[in-house]
Symmetry: C2
Subunit: 369 residues, 2 copies
DNA sequence: GTGAAAGCGCTAACAA
DNA sequence: TTGTTAGCGCTTTCAC
């Protein structure tokens, strides 16, 4: 009857102590499982806690200890199943180690990311996993480091920030897949990415997103090896929304020196590119070859099934969690995070290059404009 | 030099007060923007805070005020773009009202959901948005209510819990779409859902997930109207993972009284069903008609494009956020959350029912077994 | 093993 | 408007 009306005051250690007839300190020790407590006292305290239905105030605990048993995750776009899957890897692993996981979504927006980091820092999470937006700005990440809380980067490394990074090296697979395209006769290979840049691509341009930089480097390598000029003009950035993706795709396909193959940098872009290709009445791979990063279920459903570069996303999430947990517990037994490899999955969207002319002459395409 | 080595102690209001030569209370008032402070003092305090690089300890604040300016979101499966999109609606809206949003993913697991709620309660979030797993167990949600913190349910209502629910009423659209299937000659219409149940479906079975209950009710209504017996045997639950989805699909299509149309309860199931249909060498909609809930981009990419029931997910997320924020601020101006409607988007996956025999006689299907 | 008392960094109540 | 004094619920000295 003591708590039926209105909001009851929470039961505190003091209450439990009184009930168990011990000091507050002893009660706290028994409840918090630290310090020295006799079996008898512990039992009495635990019993009292039970009857009073005591629930520890984690906030107060965190304030004193600085620990929250929580890992904070910051991702750019939770709508992208890539991160959804990674998130599951993180949660599963973290939970197994006794850590809660909270996530903040930033919508690939730097300000939001800075905010998210601040919030998590304020909440005193024990460790961070961040998939940073591609931006040279990393003051907020440095703040995390200064706070002394472990930080693990996911997918992208940030220059000037010396922390663990869980990512696959895209250079090799980008090179390999580009080589296959070249072997199939493609020289006009386009690359579309959400990477934000005012400047158009040219060899040597500084790219602040490591996975994008690596993909381009791999492509350039393949062209170099084949002694072919790299088609700078077909590298397109800023494909952050469906409209841009559609526009870029159209540009790429209707240009007088049209692309014969398109590489989509992520699943969301791929969706837009394929849709636009279909709208233009073109056929994959007869009219245009297509290759994308990330292997989602829908890529196997469309005809032809798409050739993709698959990444072990769940495992990477798990590895990221393992890495932070280790650091939090200071059990960094020198165990380096494993190397992850992406691999090319050949399905049916890459074919022999079509001569540039024929695509351009096709009247219904012009009509589609 | 005072903070170069090791972890520096955070600067506190006391430090700022000293620097500004005012009392701790005045400094706190100026910093926290409450109470009465003269312009002069405020300025001095703010300046001092600036030079000392003061950062308020939100945890301490929360402990005193009970408020955290944070909304906690609990969803079942962040890999499902349905929730990803909802999440964006929530974040955008909450942020606009000055609330941070943190999310916990439960993997459609009740224990995880209970845990998530506890964590969020412990972190003293100001309000909850929960997309509960379909389970009659709702003690944890009642605990939220007892805590006095606003709770808004997303997608599913929970019986015995009197809170705002942001969801579309599926009955009408389920009825309508089923009627169209019946018009096209379908009587053997299957329904596949992740809903967990030991018992097979039969009329009158209690279903603890409101959207599923509504969909089935709508279907039954349509059959009733058409004076046709409802095919109880084609309602399949427990399609929680790809393997079960594949198995169920096979069952449904190879049975002696096979389904002529399949309705997938969500996008993840749809992926599995379509893949299996293709594997069996069947064609949509010639051999089997198909209908699914949620309108994702990939449904427009496959041939034929899929007929779907689209829901205004982003708007629903936004509405949920608006609702909690209102409750938190106690500005419930009687404004009821708007009604959301799902709508049938006819594309190309529904065709006329094929006679049951012909599908079963198809030799390559038996081969696929 | 135990308890008293002093924090953590902040807000809140009360006088002045 | 200002300052003093108590808290919030917990952990952590430090004696005993």
């Amino acid at each position: 009857m003591n708590n039926s009306s209105g909001r009851r005051r929470d039961v505190t250690v003091a209450d439990v102590a009184k009930e168990a007839q011990v000091s507050k300190a002893q009660a706290a020790r028994a409840l918090g499982d630290y310090g020295a407590v006799s079996d008898e006292v512990r039992e009495r305290v635990l019993a009292a806690a039970e009857t009073l239905n005591y629930r520890p105030n984690e906030l107060a605990r965190t304030m004193n200890t600085g620990k929250s048993h929580t890992i904070g995750v910051v991702v750019g776009d939770i709508e992208n199943p890539h991160f959804g899957l990674a998130m599951r890897g993180i949660s599963d692993t973290a939970k197994a180690s006794g850590f809660d996981v909270i996530l903040i979504n930033t919508g690939e927006n730097l300000d939001a990311e800075v905010d998210a980091v601040r919030v998590l820092l304020d909440k005193r999470v024990d460790g961070f996993i961040v998939a940073p937006v591609s931006s040279p700005d990393s003051e907020h990440l440095h703040r995390v480091q200064e706070s002394g809380r472990p930080l693990v980067l996911f997918d992208r490394k940030v220059s000037g920030l010396d922390v663990d990074v869980v990512a696959v090296d895209m250079t090799a697979v980008a090179r390999e897949s580009t080589a296959e395209l070249i072997d199939a006769g493609h020289e006009r290979i386009a690359f579309i990415s959400t990477y934000r840049s005012e400047q158009a691509f040219r060899h040597g341009l500084t790219i602040t997103s490591s996975p994008i930089a690596e993909r381009l480097a791999g492509m350039e390598l393949a062209f170099q090896k084949a002694r072919l000029p790299f088609p700078d003009d077909l590298v397109r950035f800023n494909a952050g929304d469906p409209t841009s993706v559609a526009q870029i795709t159209k540009d790429l396909l209707l240009d007088s020196r049209a692309a014969t193959a398109i590489v989509a940098s992520d699943g969301l872009i791929a969706l837009g590119v394929v849709e636009e290709i279909q709208k233009l009445g073109l056929e994959i791979p007869k009219d245009i070859s297509f290759l994308m990063y990330d292997d989602f279920a829908w890529t196997r459903l469309i005809r032809p099934p798409l050739t993709v570069i698959s990444q072990p996303v769940y495992e990477m999430g798990a590895a990221a969690a393992t890495a932070v947990v280790r650091k939090i517990q200071r059990t960094s037994t020198g165990t380096k995070t494993p190397d992850f490899k992406a691999k090319l999955v050949n399905r049916g969207s890459v074919g022999r290059a079509k001569s540039i002319k024929s695509a351009n002459m096709c009247p219904e395409i012009y009509g589609a404009l």
